[in-house]
């Protein structure tokens, strides 16, 4: 019975791990990795909602009656591609920040801005 909610609980653990990295870590690359963890947990949440017991992948074929819900799959397919686009933009910004400040530690960047 308790196992029925296990996927949601793991999703929440992953989401909070990503959230913690984003707010507690000072390194910008690690922050982006944390954002990716958070994103992945949302994907798992959506896909786990689409699963139907004894269902199969939503590719119509004779001999199969029950299929999992295809709508979450479509939404997450779009989200994965958009996620990589935003990751690319984020890492480009990090590279540019390193070019301008010589560091990718948030504290150092803040310190340099303060001392101006």
């Amino acid at each position: 019975m308790a196992l029925g909610l296990y996927s949601y609980w793991v999703v929440i653990v992953l989401m909070m791990a990503g959230f913690y990295i984003v707010i507690a870590s000072s390194n910008l690359i690690k922050k982006i990795a944390g954002l990716n963890i958070f994103q992945g947990s949302v994907f798992i949440f959506y896909i786990s909602l689409g699963k139907v017991e004894d269902g199969t992948a939503p590719i119509l074929a004779s001999g199969y009656e029950s299929y999992s819900n295809p709508l979450p799959h479509v939404l997450i397919l779009t989200a994965i591609v958009v996620g990589v686009a935003t990751t690319a933009l984020a890492v480009a910004l990090v590279a540019r920040i390193h070019d301008a400040y010589g560091t990718i530690e948030e504290d150092d960047i803040h310190g340099q801005d303060e001392s101006l």
């Binding site: 992945g40 786990s48 590719i59 299929y67 999992s68 590279a95 504290d107």
Partner: protein, 186 residues
């Protein structure tokens, strides 16, 4: 039983990977674990019948994302310092949010429940789409036909991101050469 042992193992491994990423300071190791995380997510998607999503995640999430981040590491620096401030406040925020979310899951439909609200509406309509679209893969027919404008919007987002990256990184070589010239003069 719907909770296959492989499914439980993959979920547990995901949690372990994410917690290891929280603890690690070496940025290269964090990026490698993030690639492993994506691959585990792809495996989990196969267990959950989302085969199209699984190979997109394996190619794009585990592949391209990891390459992008390793490339950034090559352009910047690999060192990550020990944080100076104590992580008590972030920890409290995370615990509070996580507790509230877990409380929120308690009345949710169980994994694989065919009676769940999500399966009662438009999903059934899509599964009877063969006569209209003629493609056996329902995900493809929804992506390219029923939600075609959504996919068009997605390409617009990817294009915008590509333009953004090009604008941000423009003049990279020139700036680097100028700085080298200044260093040689001094």
């Amino acid at each position: 039983m719907i909770e296959h042992p492989v499914y439980l193992l993959l979920l547990t491994l995901l949690a372990v990977t994410a917690l290891a990423m929280v603890r690690l300071r070496n940025t290269l190791a964090v990026i490698m674990l993030s690639g492993i995380y994506s691959l585990l997510v792809a495996g989990l998607f196969v267990m959950m019948d989302a085969v199209d999503v699984a190979f997109t995640e394996a190619a794009v999430g585990a592949g391209i994302s990891t390459v992008l981040m390793v490339a950034t590491l090559a352009l910047t620096t690999r060192e990550s310092r020990i944080p100076t401030h104590r992580p008590l406040l972030p920890l409290a925020v995370v615990m509070l949010t996580g507790g509230a979310l877990i409380w929120g899951t308690l009345d949710m439909p169980h994994y694989g429940d065919p009676e769940a609200p999500v399966h009662q509406h438009v999903g059934i309509r899509y599964l009877n789409s063969y006569d209209e679209i003629g493609v056996p893969n329902v995900v493809t027919s929804v992506l390219a036909s029923y939600r075609g404008f959504d996919t068009l919007g997605e390409t617009a987002v990817v294009f915008t991101a590509a333009v953004g990256v090009l604008i941000i990184l423009r003049g990279w070589q020139r700036r680097r050469r100028r700085r080298q010239a200044v260093r040689e003069r001094t």
